[in-house]
């Protein structure tokens, strides 16, 4: 019975609870127990008591793992940072509130790279997360806890955030589905900010249907977020079986990226063949400026972060280092509270904004961003969707890149251009390379999430990737 329950996707489970065939409390108990036995380091916090269970909402009472970056009232919310140790927000993030209201009770808070800065989850202030496919390897990041929890069956589904790949890359490395929505589609209110013009939250799920179901309940204009918009389409679940008439583009520049592993390449090539078999055309397209995406990203995101993280000053919340005067209180608190990668990004961002450097770094990066968005716009005149590998590599060993920040940053080179353009992209498992999952990324124009999910759904069925490490 337990393994049968466990094998249900969230959508399947929700269908049963809503029909009265399954007590949502049973689901809760199963997952709460598994989460409690977590030995991957996926969770940072779990509730002691079960919430009120209600299966009547669209999400059917199926419990949800929530990245620690989301503020939840009176629940520890640290964004993976020691500087927020003990912080219990006085309010709840809009996206979490919407999902809870739609019937997904919060199962726990998941581990993450500190302030979402990282691609391996090794930058967490509370210890790394292990990849359930191979516990000597990273789960990816920054939503590594959410991805590992879903892949390991420690949660039916989860939400994470993606600033430059932080949903898609860990989803790829853990063999699950991750959707980064259009910027503005989902409220950012209550998401502990990393880079405000790029941050978006989205689902990490076992399959595309679950992703579409969860995403459909997250969208909408929030009066608390000036940058959020009314979603222009009604939520729907994917049902396409073929890709007839669709045009797919493979961006030459991104596929020429140095460091794409042969195993990743092979899975990608097979996937492209499948796309054609399903009736779509695939052509090479140009995104001429995408090669500069990572550089622009590593100016813009740290710059915004340097301001967003300035509020951690030991005055109103979080930790404070004892110090004799104000200046040393600030400097000591931040020196003790932030990890190395966060310090690096704050330094980088502060430098890029500082007097005399703004035009060359920040100004130039904003212009590169314009060109990248233009490139995508032009590409979507020719094709409906763009397909790339999600990450150049499969899950790498813990510790392999911690000494080389730039090598770590390159892990997101294929994910960052979409973030800069603010367009939606999904990562789905394309197959295995040396026993490790490889993700395939599908990107579309703004607000094309449901079209992307349709195509991803057809592809998912054709690929038939049903593997999860515990199965």
């Amino acid at each position: 019975m337990t393994s049968e329950l466990l094998s249900l996707t969230a959508a399947q489970a929700a269908e049963r609870t809503r029909a009265g065939d399954l007590d949502p409390r049973e689901l809760w108990d199963l997952y709460r127990e598994r989460a409690g036995a977590d030995d991957l380091g996926a969770y940072l916090w779990l509730p002691d008591d079960a919430p009120e269970m209600d299966a009547s909402g669209p999400l059917g009472g199926v419990p949800l793992a929530v990245k620690d970056l989301f503020c939840v009232e009176d629940v520890p919310s640290t964004s993976g940072s020691r500087i927020l140790e003990g912080y219990r927000p006085p309010y709840t993030a809009t996206s979490v509130r919407k999902l809870v209201d739609a019937g997904a009770p919060m199962l726990g808070k998941t581990n993450m790279d500190e302030f979402a800065m990282g691609s391996s989850n090794e930058n967490s202030g509370y210890g790394p997360v292990k990849n359930p496919w191979d516990e000597s390897r990273v789960p990816g990041g920054s939503s590594g806890g959410s991805a590992a929890a879903v892949a390991a069956g420690l949660a039916p589904w989860a939400i994470g955030t993606d600033t430059g790949g932080s949903i898609r890359q860990p989803a790829a490395l853990c063999g699950i589905v991750g959707l980064k929505p259009t910027y503005g589609a989902v409220s950012r209110y209550g998401m502990i900010a990393f880079a405000s013009s790029l941050d978006q939250c989205g689902p990490l799920t076992r399959d595309v249907t679950d992703a579409a179901l969860l995403f459909g309940q997250m969208t909408g204009r929030d009066p608390c977020d000036s940058t959020s918009l009314d979603y222009p389409a009604d939520p729907r679940l994917p049902s396409a079986e073929r890709l007839d008439g669709l045009r797919f583009g493979v961006p030459k520049e991104l596929l020429d990226t140095e460091g794409i592993e042969p195993g990743v390449r092979a899975v990608f090539d097979t996937t492209v063949k499948r796309i054609e078999e399903l009736g779509a055309t695939v052509e090479e397209i140009a995104l001429p400026h995408s090669g500069h995406g990572l550089a622009a990203y590593y100016v813009l995101a740290p710059a915004e972060a340097s301001a967003n993280l300035a509020r951690y000053d030991g005055v109103r919340f979080g930790i404070r280092a004892e110090a004799p005067d104000l200046l040393s209180m600030y400097e000591e608190t931040r020196a003790q509270g932030f990890g190395d990668e966060v310090k690096r990004r704050i330094m980088l961002g502060t430098y890029a904004l500082s007097s005399g450097y703004y035009d060359a770094y920040y100004g130039q990066a904003q212009k590169v961003r314009t060109k990248i968005a233009d490139d995508f716009r032009a590409a979507f005149e020719r094709v409906d969707l763009i397909v790339t590998p999600t990450s150049p590599t499969t899950a790498f060993p813990l510790g392999a890149r911690t000494g080389d920040p730039l090598a770590m940053y390159l892990s997101d080179v294929l994910a960052v251009p979409m973030s800069l353009a603010g367009i939606p992209a999904i990562s789905i498992p394309g197959g295995l390379a040396d026993g490790l999952p490889v993700g395939v990324q599908l990107a579309g124009p703004a607000f094309s999430e449901f079209e992307i999910c349709d195509a991803a759904y057809a592809l998912e069925r054709a690929i038939g990737f049903g593997d999860l490490p515990w199965k």
């Binding site: 404070r320 004799p324 060359a360 990066a365 212009k367 590169v368 314009t370 060109k371 920040p405």
Partner: protein, 103 residues
Amino acid sequence: MGRTLFCGAVIDREQVNHVARLARLRLTDEQAEQMAAELSKVLDHIEKMGELDLADVAPTSHVVELENVLREDEARPSWPRDRMLAEAPDADAEGFRVPSPGS
């Protein structure tokens, strides 16, 4: 713009210390040394952006094309003081305590 500004986009320890002060981060000498090396490597990669001639390109600070998103001037209850002070590392009954500036 362009190459000249980026030429040798290497950040030295003195600059690292200046930036660390702006960002209120205390770095040990050793950390500053390491930071200088790591940032230089990253800046070296970023430098490639300078190759593009984008003089006539408008900067993008936002991908959403929204304007005038405003709220009505209507009061909402403030939060209870005790709840907010409970999060503070150091507070008295009425406010957030800090070492006095300049002392």
